[in-house]
Symmetry: C2
Subunit: 83 residues, 2 copies
């Protein structure tokens, strides 16, 4: 089966996120003062062939643990779609 | 009302994504050969106060058009959650 996987890698809650602060500041300067608590991370999409959805998810978690995310400073979240 | 908004900013389909290619190559070198068509973009999260969900989404689209995404090379996708 083929899967389309969306991974969101975000700075861990509580850790400083200078990029998010910079974006928040820039939004304020543009008049978007109602935006707050801005955090910036990475969005990764990939195609994966796997025997099952559970297998696809497990395999992607391995990729995150080994390469896509920094286990000390980042959290990740997966969304698995068929097709 | 308060909203939590997740924005995914991805390189437009058809455009070269060197970062995605680099990640795909690195995944292959780590033994994850079943992963393909890897694309890397940005994930942005923010809190927003707005009178309605529709308003929150419209306002976030303005932020994307003005700052968060490059309209020539990137597409974005919003997910709006209450709370």
């Amino acid at each position: 089966m083929n899967f389309r996987i969306h991974v969101r890698v975000m700075p861990r809650t509580g850790l400083l996120d200078p990029q998010g602060q910079a974006v928040e500041h820039a939004l304020g300067a543009l008049g978007f003062n109602e935006a707050g608590d801005v955090r910036v991370g990475r969005a990764i999409e990939l195609h994966l062939a796997a025997p099952s959805r559970a297998e696809a998810e497990a395999r992607t978690r391995q990729m995150c643990d080994k390469l896509l995310a920094n286990p000390v400073t980042e959290d990740y979240l997966l969304q698995v779609e068929e097709g």
